[in-house]
C-alpha cells in the first residue's frame, strides 16, 4: 500500500509538472489587447516550443493614410500545425516583438477586429490547416504624422507542443501617416457597429464633413464581391441600412464618401453575427424537452387507443405465421420422437426443431 501511495503521488506530480509543458494554454486566453510577448514563456521558450510551419501573408488596403484616417490590415495564415482544439491566436503588433508593441502604443486605434471586437489579439478556430484563416483589423491612424511598421504574430499548438510564428523575417508592412488634405471628405462622428443579432435591422449612421455623396459598400467575409447601398443625408447625419443577417457569419462594410475633388473610403469594418453571444440557450433546452414529451405523448396515446383492438381479439398465430417456417413449426409438434430416421445424438429439442428439415432433406415425409 505504501509503495502504491508513493507511486500515486509521483504520478500526480508528474502530471502536474508535464501539463503546462505539453498543453500550454490550449484553451487560449480570449481576445484582448496584448503584446506579442504574452505567452512567450511557452511559445517562445526554445526548450518547450518549436517553430510554426505557418505561412503568413500581410496586406493593407492602402500604403498611406492621413492623420485620423482609416486603414485595413488583413493577414492570411495557412499551413500551420494544429492542436486538437484547432485554436490559433493572432497578434497585430507595431515595431519589434517585445513589450508595448500593440498598435495603441503607437497611437493607432483599432475600430474592429475580425471577431467583431476591437482587440489586437484575436483567437480563431481553424478547421483546415491548408485553407487556413483570414484575419483583418480596421484601424484609425494616430494624430501625429509619421511611419508605422505593422507585424503579425501567431501562437498555436500542434503535435503536443507550443508553436510561434511572425513576420519579422518579411519585414512587416509600413504605412505612412500624412497631413489631411484641404476639403478632404471625412467622418466626424462615427462609432462603427461591429456585432448584431440574427434578424436585426442594421442601420449605419455617421456625421461627415466635406461630403456630397456617401454609400455603404459591403461584402461577405472572404468574398470578393462588393455590393453598394446609397446613403441618405438626414437630419441625424448620413444613414444607410445594410441587409439583415439570417444566420451566423461575418461581413465587412465601409463608407465610400466623396465630393467634387476627392473620393475616399473608410477602412473595412467587420460586422459579425454570432448567435452564441446573443441567443439564450435555455429556451432551446425547454423546447427540446417539450418536443420530446409532446411527441412521446401523441404516440403513446395513439398506441393505447389502437391497442384496445388487440384486447378484444385473440392472439393471431396465423396472421404472421403464414410462411414456410410457421408451417414447419406447426407440423413440428406432430413429429414422432421415436422416428427411426432421427440421427444418433440429437436431443428431443433438436429433433423437434430441426427434424422436419432433416426429413425434408432426406426426401421423406414427417
Amino acid at each position: 500500500m505504501r509503495i502504491f501511495h508513493r507511486l500515486l503521488i509521483l504520478g500526480i506530480l508528474a502530471c502536474l509538472l508535464s501539463s503546462p509543458v505539453m498543453e500550454a494554454n490550449p484553451g487560449g486566453n480570449g481576445d484582448g489587447t496584448r503584446d506579442f510577448a504574452c505567452g512567450g514563456s511557452c511559445h517562445a521558450d526554445p526548450d518547450v516550443s518549436q517553430p510554426s510551419s505557418a505561412v503568413i501573408s500581410l496586406n493593407t488596403d492602402r500604403e498611406s493614410t492621413f492623420v485620423g484616417g482609416p486603414l485595413t490590415i488583413t493577414a492570411d495564415i495557412h499551413g500551420m500545425e494544429l492542436s486538437e482544439r484547432r485554436l490559433v491566436g493572432v497578434f497585430l503588433t507595431t515595431g519589434t516583438f517585445g513589450v508595448d508593441d500593440s498598435p495603441d502604443n503607437s497611437g493607432w486605434s483599432i475600430v474592429s477586429d475580425t471577431n467583431g471586437g476591437s482587440s489586437n489579439y484575436v483567437e480563431s478556430y481553424v478547421l483546415d490547416s491548408d485553407e487556413g484563416i483570414s484575419v483583418s483589423w480596421s484601424l484609425i491612424a494616430p494624430s501625429v504624422e509619421g511611419f508605422t511598421t505593422f507585424h503579425i504574430g501567431i501562437h498555436h499548438g500542434g503535435e503536443g507542443i507550443a508553436r510561434l510564428a511572425d513576420t519579422s523575417d518579411q519585414g512587416g508592412v509600413s504605412v505612412s501617416v500624412g497631413p489631411v488634405p484641404e476639403n478632404f471628405p471625412q467622418l466626424t462622428d462615427w462609432t462603427p457597429i461591429t456585432q448584431r443579432g440574427i434578424g436585426e435591422v442594421t442601420n449605419i449612421q455617421a456625421n461627415m464633413m466635406n461630403v456630397t455623396t456617401a454609400s455603404i459598400e459591403w461584402k461577405i467575409m472572404g468574398s470578393q464581391t462588393i455590393s453598394s447601398i446609397d446613403a441618405e443625408d438626414t437630419s441625424n447625419g448620413w444613414e444607410a441600412e445594410i441587409p439583415t443577417a439570417l444566420a451566423d457569419g461575418s461581413m465587412e462594410y465601409r463608407w465610400r464618401i466623396s465630393n467634387s475633388e476627392f473620393e475616399t473610403t473608410t477602412a473595412w469594418t467587420t460586422l459579425s453575427t454570432d448567435s452564441s453571444s446573443t441567443v439564450d440557450v435555455n429556451p432551446a433546452r425547454l423546447l427540446m424537452l417539450a418536443l420530446a414529451m409532446i411527441t412521446a405523448s401523441v404516440l403513446i396515446s395513439l398506441q393505447r387507443f389502437m391497442a384496445e383492438d388487440l384486447i378484444t381479439s385473440k392472439p393471431q398465430t396465423t396472421s404472421i405465421e403464414s410462411s414456410k417456417d410457421r408451417t414447419f413449426q406447426n407440423t413440428s409438434s406432430g413429429i414422432s420422437l421415436n422416428d427411426p430416421r432421427r440421427p444418433v445424438g440429437w436431443t428431443d429439442e433438436q429433433w423437434i426443431h430441426y427434424g422436419p428439415d432433416h426429413l425434408a432433406s432426406l426426401g421423406g415425409d414427417v
Binding site: 452564441s276 440557450v281 423546447l287 420530446a292 409532446i294 404516440l299 403513446i300 392472439p315
Partner: protein, 196 residues
C-alpha cells in the same frame, strides 16, 4: 490526451448504429405486416429476431442519447461555445428522443402482438423512420459543425436545418408546461390496455 470530441464521436456512433438497426428492423417488420407476400417470405424466426433487434437496439440507442448530448455539449464548449447550429441540434434531439421513446413504448405495450395490428404496425414503422430521419439530421448538423460539410449538401435544396426556431423563454416555458401536462394526462388518465 483524448479530447472530448473523441468521446462524442464514440457515443454518437453507438447511437446512430443502434438506431440504424432498430429502424431497419422495424420497417421490415412493418412491411411484413402490410404486404402479405413479403410476410410470407420472412420466416417467423427471422421476424422474431428482427422484432427483438429493433426493441433492444432502440432501448440501447435511447440510453446512449444522454451520453451523446453531454459529450456534444462539452465538445461545443471547448470549441468556443454554443452556436445556432448547436441550438438546432437541441431541438432535433428532442424530436429524436420523442419518436424513439414512442417506438419503445409501443413495443412494450403490445409485445410481439404489435405486428398483428396494421395500424400499430404502421405507427411503429413511421415513428422509427421519423426517429431515424431526426438522427440523420443530427449527424448532418454535427458534420457541418465539425467539418464544415455534410453529405446532405448533395441534396439540390436547402433543408433549413441549421437555423434554429426563434422562440423566447416564456413561449418555450409555456410549451414545456403544456407538453408535461399532456404527457401526464396520457400516462395517468388514459387507460393502459393489458395485452396478453
Amino acid at each position: 490526451m483524448v479530447s472530448m470530441g473523441v468521446f462524442h464521436a464514440i457515443s454518437t456512433e453507438m447511437v446512430v448504429g443502434s438506431f440504424a438497426i432498430a429502424a431497419l428492423s422495424t420497417v421490415i417488420c412493418t412491411m411484413a405486416t402490410l404486404v402479405p407476400t413479403l410476410g410470407a417470405r420472412i420466416s417467423s424466426r427471422l421476424h422474431s429476431h428482427l422484432d427483438s433487434a429493433a426493441y433492444i437496439a432502440s432501448i440501447f440507442g435511447v440510453l446512449m442519447i444522454p451520453a451523446a448530448i453531454i459529450t456534444g455539449y462539452l465538445t461545443s464548449e471547448s470549441l468556443g461555445g454554443q452556436s445556432s447550429m448547436t441550438l438546432s441540434k437541441m431541438v432535433f434531439s428532442g424530436l429524436c428522443i420523442g419518436f424513439w421513446s414512442g417506438v419503445i413504448s409501443g413495443r412494450r405495450l403490445c409485445g410481439y402482438r404489435l405486428w398483428e395490428h396494421r395500424g400499430l404496425s404502421i405507427l411503429q414503422g413511421v415513428s422509427a423512420s421519423l426517429g431515424f430521419i431526426m438522427t440523420i439530421i443530427l449527424g448532418s448538423i454535427g458534420g457541418q459543425l465539425g467539418r464544415g460539410e455534410t453529405a446532405l449538401d448533395l441534396l439540390p435544396f436547402d433543408l433549413g436545418i441549421y437555423t434554429p426556431p426563434s422562440i423566447g423563454f416564456v413561449p418555450a416555458l409555456g410549451l414545456f408546461v403544456f407538453s408535461a401536462l399532456t404527457l401526464g394526462v396520457v400516462l395517468f388518465t388514459q387507460s393502459r390496455p393489458v395485452i396478453e
